[in-house]
């Protein structure tokens, strides 16, 4: 790729290799989120300039292989195959080349232009591993650069290697010797492919032949567009039968075995590891013996969760008070300021009641939300999240799922949208659907403002217990619904649990904060867009028709609320304020509080007094239950639609949660009344 102008590079690598850190180092703040071609799955892109060139970076999903085992692998492969980036920067965990190169050589077989970043090179040195980088580059025929992304080292060398890469068209795909028998069959199939000019021009015939022999079902989507697949299937079936008869082994495993053998030949004499530590004796293994202990594992996990929630509330609440005071002050000052310049009353009302009252009542929770995301980042970056999945595997089996499904559920405490996307690592479609459908029951940070407001107003003494009980209720319901779905909707055996346990690492401050900010800033963006818009809408509706008393039952807002309200009479909150808050809450759950803020025309501090006039402790609890369960927010609904790719399951998710939420709210209120709690 000599010359000037813009170029596109893609970042590829196994999970846990530090790829995201490389991405952040290269692009800094110049990132945005887009969609993959043909799919509506989130895609991270960024840009940077180097030596006068504009370079676009695409962050491919982490994958171990380019087969079609999971959605992530398909996305990564399709991007390299169809979008043909100028260079693929393959980030590797340099302490574990044998395994990381499995992905590399598959990209080389496709004919992609690859530059290797041997990442975590500081650990290579610390572990006294010797790697002959020049020889590795010579044997693979590609540039190899040592990097330590977490200390921002080697990035310049990496970019220099990338821009001095030869052009795409001059690269020859890597050819691995798969043994005489397999080679003969590969030859037959690729000869046939060469007779289809459409295919042979676009893709390496040999690579297609390998994929066909491997039994990769997804490859037919590539081939299918060009016809003749019927004959190819016949060819494949005959070839596979011949090979399995002759060699007595399944062809896909045979091919994989040869790839690993090739890697070991490449690395022979290049990598020297000290005899050092026997498996089971490393620091990680010793820590694992305690943290994943049969009996201690779960109590320790619960303790960690307790610590997370304590951090979120104990540290977050005083900070939230400051923000709250700030908005009370801002509201006062702005009101006075607007009066001083004798602004029209409706402007004052819009700014003070609408924007400051509505947005302010929600933004108060930013400290809590950031702290929760911080905790989740630490759990992920330290390697503990994978252990949590391991510990819970036994339990998850009882739901017909396995440990890997547990990670999206934990992420759901932060925000259900990335959590639903995280189900992409699950290979089995049924597992994925169940995990997606129960995910909204994990109480996300957006619902927290509602709990804090109501628990603060009605359960001052045991606020913490009440909030915790809602989280617990969500978990219990997720379990029960998971079991029901497995039993009646998604029948079939459990799939297998296979997951890498990355070594424990001390999370670096920078990566943890970046991670936290990535997620927390979404909350802020939501504030500035959807929540602000809804709050203004609510304010407008409370002032229409003209001349109506602000936010009264006669306003349009009050009329809509009154129309919905009777549905909730049995649940104890059959008044219009609750109805309208729940309706707008579908747009974003924080809006429940924001709407009440506008309706009562005050921000958070005064709001708890205002709601005490309408709710009782019992109806407050049934209302919180409803908020927890009923209808996922718009963003989650969109994520469910994208990831399930089905309207049926999207409507199912909406329908069941509404029904479940309403039923429980009614049950709680009615049972409470019978017990004399009302």
């Amino acid at each position: 790729m000599s010359g000037t102008g813009s170029m596109v590079i893609a970042l590829a690598g196994n999970p846990n290799c530090g790829k995201t850190t490389v991405f952040n180092n290269l692009t800094g703040a110049r990132q945005h989120v887009g969609n993959w071609p043909g799919k509506t799955v989130e895609k991270k892109e960024g840009r940077f300039s180097f030596a006068g060139r504009e370079i676009q970076v695409v962050d491919l999903p982490g994958a171990y292989s380019l087969g079609a085992y999971s959605e992530d692998e398909i996305i990564a492969r399709d991007y390299i195959l169809h979008q043909k980036p100028d260079t693929v920067v393959n980030v590797l965990d340099a302490t574990n080349l044998d395994r990381n190169l499995y992905l590399t050589i598959q990209m080389l077989e496709m004919g992609a232009g690859v530059v290797l970043a041997l990442n975590m090179y500081d650990e290579v040195k610390a572990k006294q591993i010797k790697i002959d980088i020049h020889e590795l580059a010579r044997r693979l025929g590609i540039a190899v650069i040592p990097t330590t992304a977490c200390h921002n080292e080697g990035m310049k060398d990496l970019i220099n290697a990338v821009i001095s890469q030869p052009g795409n068209d001059r690269r020859k795909p890597l050819e691995i010797d798969y043994g005489r028998e397999v080679e003969a069959e590969l030859n037959t199939i690729s000869q046939f492919i060469k007779t289809i000019p459409d295919l042979a021009d676009k893709f390496s015939p040999r690579w297609l032949a390998i994929k066909i022999l491997e039994g990769d079902e997804n490859i037919w989507k590539v081939i299918g567009k060009h016809g003749n697949s019927g004959q190819l299937v016949t060819l494949r079936d005959a070839a596979i039968k011949r090979l399995e008869d002759k060699l007595g082994e399944d062809v896909a495993s045979l091919i994989a075995g040869h790839r690993y053998e090739f890697i070991s030949q490449v690395l022979k004499g290049i990598v020297v590891k000290p005899a050092g530590i026997t498996p089971g004796q490393s620091f990680s293994d010793k820590l694992d013996r305690v943290l994943t202990h049969r009996f201690l594992g779960i109590p320790l996990f619960l303790l960690a969760m307790f610590a997370v929630f304590n951090l979120t509330f104990a540290l977050g609440s005083p900070l939230a008070d400051w923000v709250d005071r700030f908005f009370a002050w801002l509201g006062g000052v702005t009101g006075m300021g607007l009066a001083a310049i004798s602004a029209p009353a409706f402007i004052t009302s819009l700014v003070v009641d609408g924007i400051i009252g509505g947005v302010g009542s929600v933004i108060v929770f930013l400290p809590n939300i950031l702290l929760l995301f911080l905790s989740i980042s630490i759990l992920e970056d330290s390697g503990y999240m994978a252990r949590a999945a391991y510990i819970m595997d036994r339990f998850m089996h009882k739901l017909g799922l396995h440990g890997k499904s547990f990670i999206p559920l934990i992420l759901g405490f932060g925000c259900n949208v990335p959590a639903i996307m995280a189900t992409r690592t699950l290979g089995n479609r049924n597992d994925r659907l169940i995990t997606i459908l129960i995910n909204p029951l994990m109480s996300c940070t957006a619902r927290l403002p509602v709990y804090v407001l109501f628990a603060g107003a009605f359960f001052t003494a045991n606020q913490g217990v009440i909030i915790f009980s809602l989280y617990l209720l969500g978990i219990v319901l997720a379990i029960l619904m998971g079991m029901l779905f497995k039993k009646f909707v998604f029948k079939g055996g459990a799939s297998h649990f296979i997951m890498e346990l990355p070594p424990y690492r001390l999370p670096t401050l920078r990566s943890t904060l970046t991670n936290m900010w990535d997620r927390g800033s979404l909350f802020l963006r939501k504030m500035a867009t959807i929540i602000l818009a809804v709050v203004i809408l609510v304010w407008i509706l409370s002032n229409l028709p003209f001349g109506v008393e602000y936010a009264s039952q006669e306003s349009i807002l009050g009329r809509i609320g009154s129309f919905i309200a009777p549905v909730f009479t049995l649940a104890g909150f059959g008044f219009w304020e609750a109805g309208i808050a729940l309706l707008f809450g579908i747009l974003a759950k924080e809006v429940v509080v924001g709407t009440l803020g506008v309706v009562y025309g005050i921000e958070e501090a005064g709001l708890s007094m205002a709601i005490a006039g309408s709710w009782t402790a019992l109806s407050a609890y049934s209302f919180m239950t409803m908020t927890l369960i009923y209808i996922p927010c718009i963003a989650s609904i969109a994520a469910i639609k994208r990831e399930t790719n089905s309207w049926k399951w999207t409507f199912f998710a909406i329908g069941y949660s509404l029904l479940l939420g309403w039923t429980l709210a009614v049950l709680i209120f009615q049972a409470g009344r019978l017990l004399g709690l009302g």
Binding site: Y64, S65, G67, Y69, N96, D98, R99, Y102, G215, E249, D250, A252, S253, A256, G257, H258, Y260, E261, F262, I263, S264, Q265, L267, K268, G269, V271, V272, K273, A275, G276, I277, T278, P279, G280, S284, D285, D288, R289, T292, R294, A386, A389, Y390, D393, R394, H397, H402, G403, G427, N428, A494, S495, H496, F497, I498, M499, E500, L501, P502, P503
Partner: protein, 102 residues
């Protein structure tokens, strides 16, 4: 040597994978993690019930019991655990899969 399922191998034992049973999805997922016939692994943790932790190519893998039962292995004689002829890439966790195979 006797072939056993990986599910029965005790913690601290080194073994060589002989055969992977089960469906295509399971085999594909195991291959991605470097588990192929001929590959050497070490059982780091195997409790009764629940998933195992194994070490393959110096990586720790959590492996559900169901999956482990489909992997047939031969135990390596403990005395021959780390023979030098097995190559020099990684003496601690066994060598690369392909090399053992030959």
């Amino acid at each position: 040597m006797e072939r056993l399922t990986l599910g029965l191998i005790k913690s601290g034992t080194t073994a060589i994978v002989k055969d992977i049973r089960g469906n295509e999805n399971l085999r594909r997922a195991l291959v991605e993690q470097g588990l192929v016939a001929g590959c050497r692994l070490n059982v780091v943790k195997n409790d009764i019930g629940g998933p195992l932790i194994i070490s393959v190519n110096d990586t720790r893998l959590a492996l559900g019991r169901g999956a482990a039962l489909q992997v047939m292995v031969e135990e390596v004689d403990s005395l021959k655990k780390f023979t030098p002829e097995l190559g020099n890439t990684n003496l601690s966790a066994g060598v690369l899969c392909g090399e053992v195979k030959k």
